[in-house]
């Protein structure tokens, strides 16, 4: 172009072939204004945070710790309750466990079961309670067991054959001893897989029919149990079952038993049977109504409930700690956002000068805070899952990633970003563009 301009408003150059497209694109702009700001805000927010990587990471540490703690603990407790549920069948379904109460010696209370109050006759009486399908008294001793030159310390329990059904034992070899064995007091034994491993595997002998020595008494192995694995509380396979009468006379020599197990025919009858057994035993033990029982009747469900109560308490405690951590993390985010607003006052001024509305500036810093806290949330979730995996592995629990909890933890992290990012963002948006432009 070469036209010399001598007048202010007249001699502007003539575009070539462009006369027909003037204001049209201008009008199309406005409606798109809002929606497009989010993506742009994310981009500029990410740039700003990436430019201060270390600072950003330190800022979100509180959020990371909080979220990771929640996820790890939840994974752990979920694994625990999952295991408890799966072991409910292992413990025996609809089983009531009757244990002696605690002793009180000179005012000092002993532990549960320390008292000797249950007898074989109690077990016989419990068997007559309606809906009770199987009962066994249990005598438990810990004993050194010797076989084929090996020895092993294990739990030896004197039980009636009803035990097999009560605890859902399946046989790997042989059969459970019979009622006749129990009545006659035949010295026979049914042994768990761990006992087999420790006494017979080394010598490569078949356990069935072999003699084992328990507290100097010889027993013949008539059955080998299928492995049940650990229940999280102990190895269920590390056990030897012998007839109750034999245990009573040869190992314990006492009229008292350690436990009575009673199986109820239906889950709906468990509570009724529990009450009936309690009443029956109170009568048998001459305990007046309202008096202190010298025994305790618990259902397997209650074991699980107790354990779950514990894990709920643990969850609440750690969620509380996590909440504090998130609060601290949020304050950290607010602090760093305020610093960021101060540092970038001039940038805010420039953005305002070239057309950013107050809401645009506010959103930019809100998105930045949100990016921070969400990044903290994601990192925290990853660390929490890894930690939870390690913990459940260490305690041989099943690893379950709980989606609702992950979503909740992420949501809370995002909320922290919005709540604590709001004040700095508002402050940025309220800056006077002239003052902001002049700042260094």
């Amino acid at each position: 172009m070469s036209t010399p301009t001598t007048q202010q408003d007249a001699q502007t150059p003539q575009p070539q072939g462009q006369t027909s497209r003037a204001p049209a694109p201008q009008k199309k702009k406005a409606p798109a204004h809002r929606g497009l700001m989010i993506g742009a805000g994310l981009e500029s927010g990410w740039e700003a945070l990436w430019a201060n990587r270390l600072r950003s990471l330190l800022t979100i540490l509180g959020v990371i710790v909080g979220v990771a703690a929640v996820i790890a603990v939840v994974t752990l407790t979920q694994g625990t309750s999952e295991l408890l549920n799966s072991r409910l069948t292992g413990l025996g379904t609809n089983v009531l466990t009757i244990t002696p109460g605690s002793t009180t010696t000179g005012g000092a209370a002993g532990g549960l079961g320390s008292r000797q109050s249950l007898t074989e006759d109690d077990a016989t009486a419990v068997a007559s309670v309606p809906n009770v399908t199987g009962v066994t008294p249990v005598i438990t001793v810990s004993a050194q067991v010797i076989a084929s030159g090996q020895n092993w310390n294990t739990r030896v329990q004197g039980v009636t054959p009803a035990m097999q059904q009560i605890q859902n034992w399946e046989m790997a070899q042989g059969a459970w001893f019979s009622d006749a064995d129990n009545t006659a007091g035949t010295p026979v034994a049914v042994i768990g897989q761990t006992v087999v491993d420790n006494l017979f595997t080394a010598a490569a002998t078949e356990p069935l029919g072999q003699m084992i020595t328990i507290r100097s008494q010889p027993f013949r192995v008539v059955g080998v149990l299928k492995s049940k694995g650990s229940n999280g509380l102990g190895n269920q396979d590390d056990v030897i079952y012998i007839p109750f009468t034999v245990a009573k006379t040869r190992l314990n020599n006492s009229q008292y038993v350690n436990q009575i197990l009673a199986q109820v025919n239906d889950a709906n009858n468990v509570d009724g049977a529990q009450t009936a057994i309690t009443t029956l035993l109170e009568q048998r033990h001459n305990i007046a109504a309202g008096g202190q029982d010298d025994f305790q009747v618990r259902s397997s469900t209650q074991f699980v409930q107790t354990a779950q109560q514990f894990s709920t308490t643990l969850t609440l405690l750690l969620v509380g700690i996590a909440a504090i951590s998130l609060l601290v993390g949020g304050i950290g985010i607010m602090n760093i956002m305020l610093v960021s607003v101060t540092e970038r006052t001039r940038e805010i001024g420039v953005r305002m000068a070239i057309g950013a509305r107050r809401a645009d500036i506010r959103n930019q810093f809100l998105i930045e805070a949100l990016t921070l806290s969400c990044a903290g949330g994601v990192i925290g979730i990853l660390i929490g899952l890894i930690g939870g995996w390690a913990l459940t592995n260490a305690f041989s629990l099943p690893f379950i990633a709980s989606l609702p909890w992950i979503a909740l933890a992420f949501g809370v992290a995002a909320l922290v970003g919005v709540v604590f990012g709001f004040y700095p963002a508002i402050r940025a948006s309220q800056l006077d563009p002239i003052v902001a432009l002049r700042s260094e």
Binding site: P13, A30, G355
Partner: protein, 296 residues
């Protein structure tokens, strides 16, 4: 020639704006030729007071002038003369205490802050003394920023930002960050950013204040070329030799207009630049030549 065809356009489209049509090298200036059109800037009895404690400090004491489309006006004055206050008011960064201001036919004095933001976005292009580019963003992203606030699509933003950079001769530096550019290049990026939303007015506040005299000449050459393309420019400066490149000079003193003169023979920055370069035996100024050769 195109005036009659636009007589039925809505009032908003009547503004005497030099609108790029998307081809950065061409300008649609037909509306500037329409007869009876409003000036780009019209201020009447504009006043501004600052409250300092109990006292009212006057910064502008009633200023009246008009700038028509296609003008290149230098606003001069010593510090404290009110030119910065005027700049802030013209730039819609501040609201006047009294008087009236129309920007391209829009009465700006009464608008809300969001409306002012939109005016700054679409009607005014700012060029600052300190360039004021975002240091982390590339030249291209800096130039695209105003279009983000205008709500244009990313592809459209990029396309137009490229054109704007071409216009100031920096197309090859599109992906450099400001720190990788010289001061003069940064200022040209800033000019591209100011132009990218096709404003009615380019507002340059001491654009050469941070530059050496030769780079200043380069910037003035760019501004003059843009003005020849039809862009209205208001340049605030305290340097008389910079103001000499403008076609009109308004001088302020104590918050009033001291003088308002047409400059019949403004200096030609491109010619001056050529002279300087020939004196120092440099190769011909490629970039400037390119701008001048752009088809218009």
């Amino acid at each position: 020639m195109s005036g009659p065809s636009h007589s039925s356009a809505p009032p908003g489209a009547q503004n005497p704006r030099n609108v790029y049509d998307g081809q950065a090298t061409t300008l649609d200036s037909k509306q500037t030729r329409s007869p009876g059109v409003q000036p780009v800037i019209a201020v009447r009895q504009l006043t501004k007071y600052y409250i300092l404690g109990q006292t009212r400090v006057p910064a502008l004491r009633g200023v009246t002038f008009a700038v028509n489309a296609g003008e290149f006006v230098a606003v001069m004055g010593a510090s404290g003369s009110g030119k910065s206050t005027l700049m802030n008011l013209i730039g819609c960064l501040d609201k006047p205490s009294g008087g009236e201001y129309w920007l391209a036919g829009t009465p700006v004095s009464t608008l809300t802050s969001d409306q002012l933001a939109d005016i700054r976005n679409r009607r005014i292009g700012f060029v600052f003394q300190g360039f004021n580019l975002l240091s982390r963003a590339s030249a291209l992203k800096n130039v695209a920023l105003p279009m983000m606030y205008a709500g244009l699509s990313p592809t459209e933003r990029e396309r137009r930002a490229h054109r704007a950079l071409e216009l100031v001769g920096l197309a090859s530096r599109a992906h450099h960050t400001p720190l990788q550019l010289s001061g003069g290049q940064q200022q040209r990026v800033a000019i591209a950013r100011a132009l990218v939303n096709r404003p009615a007015l380019l507002l340059a506040d001491e654009p050469t204040g941070n530059l050496d005299s030769r780079t200043s000449l380069e910037i003035m050459a760019v501004l003059q070329t843009l003005n020849q393309h039809g862009i209205t420019i208001l340049l605030v400066t305290h340097e008389a030799d910079i103001a000499a490149y403008a076609k009109r000079q308004i001088t302020f003193r104590d918050g009033r207009v001291l003088s308002d003169e047409r400059n019949g023979a403004p200096r030609d920055a491109t010619a001056d630049l050529l002279r300087v370069r020939q004196r120092s035996d440099e190769p011909a100024p490629q970039r400037q030549a390119r701008i001048r050769e752009e088809p218009v």
